[in-house]
């Protein structure tokens, strides 16, 4: 059964269509990335999954439990780290985590609370008031709060926005471990290298619609490919290579450097052979691997 099943979800805020028929299936055990520019609808979608917002149309189910009609079971299976840095100023870290456990029906949860605090380097702050914590520490508590009930599905909405390198590493180590142990993880982030390193599959949202959905590696291969960057000492680019040029402005007369699209490594040999035949002299040459950022930019600009 799918960890999260999203079917034709629509949501409008007055005249703004935030989500326009989003369908996604996230399988159990996946590390799934939800990417898109600001205002693409990522947080709205997560809020609907979490039951914080209600969809105008369509449905969302967690392990088969509808988030509206069967909300108690759906929410029990879900841990959400909200994007906003929120906290309750009346309580200490330990009180906060005990209270959150209680909301999920757990009474004696201290062993797990201690373990979560240990993995997030929070143990030394256990009895500190929430107000006294730095932003990074508050973020850790938010992550811990989402995990008190050991949810099989964990959703993190930009957990590393404005967070230092140390916490990012601590956090990803812990989340990756949870994923290895079988938890499904859904992540939104603006750091595409993080998404590329962690997510086995990504969906890209734009204007409230899914514009790309694939495994991270095949998305990179399919959409961006690699680039062979050639600078010529003399001669011109043969006509048959011109369609491979990725940036049209490189074709204006006087330019000597070209970025050529390469889908397979064998194509490099062909390109070199053609250049040799045309009599062009190569001054410099290197192969550039595409990454998720290239894919992101190409998709968001509407270039496929």
């Amino acid at each position: 059964m799918a960890a999260i099943q999203i079917q034709r979800v629509e949501k409008s805020y007055r005249s703004l269509k935030a989500l326009n028929g989003v369908s996604l299936t996230i399988e159990e055990g996946e590390f799934f990335g939800l990417l898109g520019p600001n205002g693409a609808g990522k947080t709205t979608l997560i809020s609907i999954i979490a039951g914080l917002n209600r969809a105008d149309a369509g449905s969302v189910a967690i392990h088969g439990h509808d988030v509206v009609s069967d909300y108690r079971r759906a929410r029990q299976l879900l841990g959400v780290v909200p994007q906003e840095l929120v906290f309750d100023p009346f309580f200490t870290v330990r009180e906060t985590l005990r209270i959150q456990s209680g909301y999920f029906g757990l009474k004696n949860n201290d062993a797990w609370i201690d373990e979560v605090m240990h993995h997030l380097d929070l143990t030394s702050k256990a009895d500190a008031n929430m107000r006294a914590l730095s932003g990074g520490m508050k973020r850790r508590v938010l992550v811990a709060q989402a995990l008190v009930h050991k949810p099989p599905v964990i959703v993190l909405d930009e957990p590393t926005a404005g967070v230092d390198v140390e916490l990012r590493q601590t956090l990803w180590k812990f989340v990756a471990r949870l994923n290895r142990e079988g938890h499904t993880v859904v992540l939104t982030t603006h750091y595409l290298e993080e998404a590329q390193a962690l997510c086995n599959r990504v969906a890209m949202l734009k204007g409230g619609q899914v514009v790309a959905l694939d495994t991270t590696s095949s998305l990179i291969k399919r959409i961006a490919g690699s680039q062979l960057i050639v600078r010529l000492a003399s001669g011109a680019l043969p006509d048959e290579l011109r369609p491979l040029v990725l940036h049209p402005d490189e074709l204006t007369p006087g330019k000597r450097q070209y970025s050529l699209r390469v889908n397979e490594y064998t194509e490099v040999e062909l390109i070199l052979a053609k250049l040799r035949l045309s009599g062009a002299q190569i001054e410099d040459l290197h192969l550039q691997q595409a990454d998720l950022e290239d894919v992101f930019i190409q998709i968001m600009e509407g270039v496929k």
Binding site: Y13, R72, V80, P82, D88, F90, E95, I99, Y103, H149
Partner: protein
Amino acid sequence: MTGFQTLFYKEILRFWKVATQTVAAPVLTAVLYLLIFGHVLEGHVQVYPGVKYTAFLVPGLVMMSVLQNAFANSSSSLIQSKITGNLVFVLLPPLSHWEIFGAYVLAAVVRGVVVGTGVFAVTAWFAHMSFVAPWWIAIFALLGAAILATMGLIAGIWAEKFDQLAAFQNFLIMPATFLSGVFYSVHSLPPFWQAVSHGNPFFYMIDGFRYGFFGQSDINPLVSCGVVIVFLLVLVSFAVRLLKSGYKLRH
């Protein structure tokens, strides 16, 4: 059940951690009312035969404190959580709307009763009090607190900013409390205002509560109790419906 218990416990802890502000301050305010109005009006006003004005005033002030603090607790807790955003901690777990309703309202009732008891403990020193029907005292205190706690919940759900909540409090709760006969018997009013007072549910709460002390009231306490229960049921069903629909909480 654990979810409800935890939210209730958290709501109690929230006001108890700042008890100077949430318990001691309202007790002091009530004592000041008693000292000043008691001093000025004692000997000039006699509402019921054989009952001094200060003694008449004590139950009114106790009930006013119960009502205002019950309202303040649920409404301010909700609006603070909404504005700071930490209401998500309550909205994300599998708490049902009845659990959320019950926890917020019961905690507010507890605060109202704690403050009311405090006010009574201090003001009773200044007057000779009798307890003709203690059950009526308890029933009206609890029902009144539950009504205002529910109104506080509704106001907290509806308000988006502190000034909207303040408007609810200043233009609805305060006038309804002051015009309910806290400081006087509505029988001393001109007929028109007497009739208006009878349309104010708060009047029945305070009148019935006072009956418990003196065995005298403007209205039969059974009638008052009926009015108060009906009013409470209407508010409860409205509040629970708001919570269930997610109005202003789950957009």
